[in-house]
Amino acid sequence: MALFENLSDRMNHIFSKLRNRGKLTELEIKQAMREIRVALLEADVNYAVVKDFTAKVSEKALGEDILKSLTPAQQIVKIVNDELIALMGSTHQKLMVSDKQPTVYMMCGLQGAGKTTMCGKLVAYLKKQGKKTLLVACDVYRPAAIQQLKVVAGKVGTECFEMGQIKPVKIAEEGIKYALKNGYDTVIIDTAGRLHIDETLMDELVALKKAVKPTEILLVVDSMTGQDAVTVADTFNKTLDITGVIMTKLDGDTRGGAALSIKAVTGKPIKFNGTGEKPDDIEPFHPERMASRILGMGDVLTLIEKAQDAISQEEAIKLSKKLKENSFTLEDYLQQLDSMKKMGNINDMIAMIPGLGSKLKGTPQIDEKQIAHTKAIILSMTPQERRNPDIIKASRRKRIAAGSGTTIQEVNQLLKQFEMMKDMMARMQKGGLRGLRGLKGLPF
């Protein structure tokens, strides 16, 4: 598939022959819009939304002065990017909290969108904010759905309230009573996946809404959804007046144009992204990141934020001090490896780097196991050895290899790499810490 790599590249290509330094002309805009239209359609933005959008952008771009620092190509991309962000809502919207306890969030969506998995993630997310959340199992149709929610609840350390396969309204009402009695301030109701055209099941959701008056009704949408996303979201919104949207499976290589379509059609904010299979794989929705993703320009901001999450300011200062004194040891290295792990899958992170993700497709990925091996080797050393690797001679190497289940060659390789790393760091020191300071927060 001629997968559209990067809108910037294409724009650059269109404008490569032009050395226009004045205003954008109609012809240039028309050419650019053709490419933008294709880019958006390939990202699964709805046809009607694309049509409106390109019309609006053309109007904006026509006659606009080209900023001194930008080429015409960059100018167009900037306008498109800005408009996309504006359309998706300019800031992240937080979850609403009810004045009256408990706060109730009701999940809804098509089959397989990822509602049950998202329930667990929300519990983990709310837990970090000091909330105590009860899960209520109202998917009484799918085989083993209740069992799944129970397991999910166990993984995130909360309870799952269930009453078997009886009427969901009853379960939800009893669940809320249970929450109040047992000191839960938040309740998440998991519902069965359903087609938006299934009137019986849609009526069930309406009844559920009437009975429990949820603080928020969150529509869970698979980010890989195509043109139909508009129909689905519109129907759910008209029937239930949803309060927000959650996009799932954004750890895939989808461009996620559905997000734009849904926002354009429902006007409801997108609140979260699901980005993996673990409970912590949830991120607040950031319109600017989604915009660059839809345009195929990667997601640098998320990457930087992940790095900042994984390594505290304090650790970063300690590290830079160590680097300055050239007292970086294998113990510190071990800590760095752990920080990296906290950032999540390395390959996922690489895929987020603009222009790199798609180019790396097909090339062998970094083996997470390799990091585990490295850790095992370091852990098999004595504290003294870690602090002063120079003392590691033949017999110590043999012992370390045996202890970590690796080979002497692998131990040698690690020691050599570590020496090289230290050497590099020392040279960076001489070059000034200034360059490194900009990278504060990054593990290397």
Partner: protein, 297 residues
């Protein structure tokens, strides 16, 4: 319910939306730009994709020129034929013992499709065993067990977190011992860009090939009809990594158009073998291009 009724019913909603647009397209007075624009819109909103749509329209223009077609109705018939030709796949003929492995991204309906396939083979008088090789998702085995009971087939399962290849190994041993005809393998949903999970899938395939080399081994990718252009990427990577033989297109009972099948056929040439048209156990039917397009146009 007959085959045609079922697929027609499943695609009824699709047809309503799609053919309304096509009706406008074809009721245009002449074969002008407006006509082609509305045609393009109809195809794009059906998830056919930019490239496949462009190709179809080019082909249509060629034919219109060659056959000197003047009327939109005739153009419609030509397009219908072109689309049928594009996806006119052969119905799979199996040899036994047969192993079918289902793979796909998360939430496309693999476990449900396994339940329906088990029922289908059972109805044909085959003895079926199911391997619950989704050991990752919470309660996946329990879900499959319920389908096993509904279809009346055995389900081989391990605990959550077990090696899926080991489950498959056990299922094959068990099938050999009992002389079963069909082994169905359910796998955990995985995004195609996760290399290590794709490697796990390759390992499962190696176990099947080693333990049952004489079997007819088919690998089907389960695709959600609601999926947009990412389905092409899924089809591409799954077929590269485990030599996928065909596609099972699920959730065609919604309003999704399933047009991405044409994009996949255009770019990868992977055939569609079955379509899922509902939640009941017999709601999985063999794919038929003529019926599919007839119901669509």
């Amino acid at each position: 319910m007959g085959f045609f009724q079922k697929i027609a019913e499943g695609i009824k909603k699709t047809k309503d939306a799609f053919s309304k647009k096509l009706f406008f397209a074809f009721s245009a007075r002449a074969l002008d730009d407006e006509f082609y624009d509305s045609l393009e819109e109809a195809l794009l909103t059906a998830d056919v994709g930019v490239t496949a749509t462009e190709n179809l329209i080019e082909e249509l223009k060629d034919e219109i020129f060659k056959q000197k077609v003047k009327k939109p109705e005739d153009a419609r018939e030509i397009l219908r034929q072109l689309m049928i030709e594009d996806i006119d796949f052969d119905i799979p003929q199996y040899d036994y013992p047969l192993v079918i492995l289902l793979s796909g991204v998360n939430g496309v309906g693999k476990t449900t499709a396994i339940g329906k396939l088990a029922h289908m083979f059972k109805q044909q008088g085959k003895s079926v065993v199911v391997a619950a090789a989704d050991t990752f998702r919470a309660a996946a085995s329990e879900q499959l067990e319920v389908w096993g009971q509904r279809a009346g087939v055995r389900v081989i399962r391990h605990n959550e977190g077990a090696d899926p290849a080991a489950v498959v190994f056990d299922a094959i041993s068990s099938a050999k011992a009992r002389g079963n005809d069909v082994i169905l393998i359910d796998t955990a949903g995985r995004l195609h860009n996760k290399k290590n999970l794709m490697a796990e899938l390759q390992k499962i395939c190696r176990v099947v090939e080693r333990e049952l080399p004489e079997a007819d081994f088919r690998k089907f990718l389960v695709l959600d009809a609601t999926t947009g252009q990412n389905a092409v990427s899924q089809a591409q990577i799954f077929s590269e990594d485990i030599e996928t033989d065909g596609i099972i297109l699920t959730k065609l009972d919604g309003t999704a158009k399933g047009g991405v099948v044409l994009a996949i056929s255009d770019e990868i040439g992977l055939p569609v073998v079955y379509v899922g048209v509902g939640e009941k156990i017999d709601d999985l039917i063999p794919f038929d291009a003529t019926d599919f397009i007839n119901a669509l146009l």
